[in-house]
Amino acid sequence: MTTAYTYKPWLVEKWKDDWVPEEVAIDCYATFACRHKFCREVCPVYQETGNESHISYGFHVALLSVSRGYEKLHNLGNTFTYCLQCGACQLRCPNTLFTGDFYRITNEHNVLVTKTRNELLRLGFKFKGSDDMLKAINQIVKDTEEARLSLTEWAKDLDLPRYGETILFTDYFMATQMTNILRLIAKILKVAGIKFGIIENPKPTLPYELDYLGEKGIQYIKENIEALKKAGAKTVIVPDPHVYVSLTKEYPRLTGSEVPFDVVFVTDYIWNLIKEGKLVPKKPVNKKVTYHDPCMLNKVSGIWESPRNILKSIPGIEFIDEDHVTQWYYCCGNGASEARTFKILHEDLSYRIGLKRLNRALDTGAKTLAVACPHCNEQFNEVKLKSKTEIEILDIFEILAESLEIR
């Protein structure tokens, strides 16, 4: 699958405290000129803070004001922490909708945020929480380098080869923190008769955050691609939406070329198996379920049908759908970071955004919120615990596995 991405000069040029390249200024002007600010109401952060500085329009205009000599880059740090990088704004942007590809002015807000934060750090301008943010990311590097995390332990009794044309690929997060879901996915694939392998030592994929690691980030990309190639991968099944965004968007952005294999998100893959009759959910699961669209899937990758189709294929389920466009407004509160950096930067805000989403789910009359992302899963469970909200959080594959009578 080919993923469209534009390559903008600001990705390589270095900025100064009082200067950004002219291309960046003109790009920011395209957002300023619009002044629709459709990026505003859709922004989960803005919905809580009511501060327009925290939306895509605000970020772009802030940089435009630097380019015109009215502001210094070092003043922007705190403002640029107020972003989940959920992707709602760049999707809703009229520039993206209408002229984006043609004039190469697609709103790439998520990348702009990373770029700006990275330039601030490079120039030595710390912002509120920046030390802790980097610490969290570097902890992952440290754990990886010291091989502290066993990344195949989860599969030890599943008899999965370390090669194959089809590879189930994830990074440290699911392999260490959501092993139950990962195991269910592997078992479902096996029941369907899919021959697939895993790789021994996947490196962190960290969407929108590899930039902070400099050369190390690029090295991780190369190592993952090499390992997958070496294993013989033609199709890579990805069960974590964040990893999916890295492989399909971030790797091409940072290396300048597409990955040399097909990348398929797990719900797309498994929905196909159900369609082909290779999986037949039979046992009724009597639950009132609504579904949460993970930002990395729905807003950034445009995948929203297959998770719904899987849920609808399970007998017994009363599925109460909230359409995927309405869900552009929602987020679990974790944001794009695998290292939970938004939560580190704005713990309370993250909690409020998550709680709002849980209440929206309850408003539909559902008792269960189905998720398709391990990061949403983790966040919702934390928010549920803290707020004592009475709602069941289940991964789609937990529900499917029950119907397939897989444990």
Binding site: I26, Y29, A30, F32, A33, C34, R35, H36, K37, F38, R40, E41, T49, G50, N51, E52, S53, Y57, G58, V61, A62, S65, V66, R68, Y70, E71, N75, L76, T79, P94, N95, L97, F98, T99, F102, Y103, I105, T326, Y329, D363
Partner: protein, 505 residues
């Protein structure tokens, strides 16, 4: 003239503001201030600093707004209220720095009254967001303004905003009462007589309308009780193509007089608009070459009503050669009506290359009979300016029925002119204002009004508004009101050239 001396926004003021709204809601860094300097009309980017406020505050309640205004009034500091900043008459553009009161944090729904069919909101709430919330209960907020996904109720009230579906009324027709903070900080409840939820009363002066459309010169509206509608069963847009603007114009009168109650609006696209769409609109669905002008209609109501009306509109359109343009175009174009109202890289230079263009949207009220003359004159002017300066572009015109609840009378007349704002100089900016004045003069020549929707406060317009459009006696009353309600001229000073209200003698 008495010299107006304003107080400075210093550390003391910042501290007091922080006590009122909290530290996080007082913004002083330049980027926060500069992003709240412009609205959606063409902006003199080459002198951005002239319009930047000294501080931005984000209040959360009527009480906080009141405290801010009391402080500003005591210290004689200019205050500019700001909704979404999507207005097109510079209402939210500060002329003298001071405090920008950004009301968008006040975005709560306070009450949904299903028995009396009204909803009470804080005025920072957005139109689309309000509708999304009402939809949960089966109700509809029909205020279909072009900036529907972004503008907020407070800005709509402050500018006396206009909507596409005039059949449901404009904002002035959709508000029952308001909580309003006067320039001195005093809070008033103003509506129909004394009833918060009453739709029409003959008690007292009709002051509700005084606090609609004042462009922030008379205070800040913080709460509003609004009409709420049952959701219509069906929406039916139907677009018709004509061989010329004159055919469409002739047909528009027949549509206006049709008596179809479910017809929400009808809009004429002129020949230059069709050309511009053919040239530069990515969402445009190609039309046969002989189609030179279009009328868009849209119906809302029960299925039975709309079905009957649909048959009738096809008959009426055909009388002047109107051809139905099909479901795909009608529904697609209608659905994207809010998304396309401005995109940069649409305007073109004389050599055919696109540029960093921003958008001017004229919104004069012009009587039906005068439309052909105005349309011709306007396009002549726009073309002349394009040829002379090569930073303006004529993107054609739309003409929307303007009258509340009826389809006849006059039209909100919009010529869209693009301006290469990124490359503006003071000289070109002055040329722009000259064009703006010439466009407005055409309107006054035929007995129209310079602005049906946005306000008469734009540079280029405002001088004509106060010297030519408004009756001198009326402008005198405006000045008396301003002076009495705002003794220190702190509320949005300079707008409507009301400084003259404070001249001695």
């Amino acid at each position: 003239m008495a010299q107006l001396v304003y107080g400075k926004v210093d550390g003391y003021i910042i501290e007091r503001l922080a006590k009122i709204v909290g530290d996080a809601n007082v913004l002083t860094e330049p980027h926060h201030r500069f992003m709240r300097a412009s609205s959606a009309a063409p902006f003199p980017l080459h002198k951005w600093h002239v319009h930047a406020p000294d501080v931005v505050v984000l209040p959360g309640s009527t009480e906080e707004v009141s405290e801010i205004l009391k402080l500003a009034n005591e210290r004689k500091i200019p205050v500019v209220p700001r909704g979404a900043g999507t207005g097109l008459a510079d209402g939210a553009v500060p002329l003298r720095g001071g405090i920008v009161v950004d009301i968008k944090r006040m975005n709560k729904i306070l009450e949904i009254d299903e028995e009396n069919m009204c909803v009470t909101v804080q005025t920072g709430i957005n139109n689309n967001t309000l509708d999304i919330e009402l939809k949960r209960y089966g109700y509809w907020w029909p205020f279909d303004i072009a900036s529907y996904p972004c503008s907020v109720i407070g800005g709509n009230l402050g500018t006396n905003a206009w909507q596409l579906g005039a059949a449901f009324g404009h904002i002035r027709d959709l508000v029952r009462s308001m909580v309003h903070v006067l320039p001195t900080g005093k809070v008033i409840k103003v509506g129909e007589g004394g009833g918060r939820k009453i739709s029409k009363s003959s008690v007292g002066y009709q002051l509700k309308y005084l606090f609609i459309g004042h462009q922030g010169t008379l205070g800040i509206t913080t709460e509003a009780t609004l009409e709420m509608f049952p959701r219509p069963e069906v929406e039916f847009p139907a677009f018709f193509g004509y061989r010329s603007f004159m055919d469409a114009w002739r047909n528009a009168l027949k549509i206006a007089k049709s008596g179809l109650r479910t017809l929400a609006t009808h809009i004429i696209f002129d020949e230059e608009k069709i050309e511009a769409l053919r040239r530069d609109d990515e969402a445009y669905i190609p039309l046969p070459d002989h189609i030179k002008s279009v009328i868009a209609t849209a119906f809302y109501g029960t299925e039975a009503e709309v079905k009957g009306a649909a048959e009738k509109i096809f008959e009426i359109a055909a009388k002047d050669g109107g051809i139905y343009l099909g479901e795909e175009l009608s529904e697609g174009d209608w659905a994207s009506r809010h998304d396309r109202y401005h995109i940069t890289y649409h305007g073109r230079h004389l050599d055919g290359q696109v540029g960093t263009y921003s958008w001017h949207c004229e919104d004069a009220a012009v009587n039906y009979s005068a439309l052909p003359y105005v349309v011709k004159k306007w396009h002549e002017l726009a073309k002349e300016w394009k040829q002379k300066y090569d930073i303006f572009d004529d993107m054609g015109g739309f003409y929307y029925n303007n009258n509340s609840f009826k389809q006849w009378g006059d039209y909100l007349s919009e010529i869209d002119i693009f301006i290469d704002e990124y490359h503006l100089t003071e000289e070109l900016w002055q040329k722009w204002l000259e064009l703006k004045r010439r466009i407005a003069e055409v309107v006054l020549e035929v007995g129209g009004s310079i602005s049906a929707a946005h306000g008469g406060t734009r540079p280029g317009d405002v001088e004509l508004v106060v010297t030519k459009e408004l009756d001198p006696g009326v402008y005198e009353i405006m000045k008396m009101i301003k002076r009495n309600l705002d003794p220190n001229n702190i509320m949005n000073p300079g707008k409507y050239l009301l400084d003259s209200a404070y001249e001695e003698g």
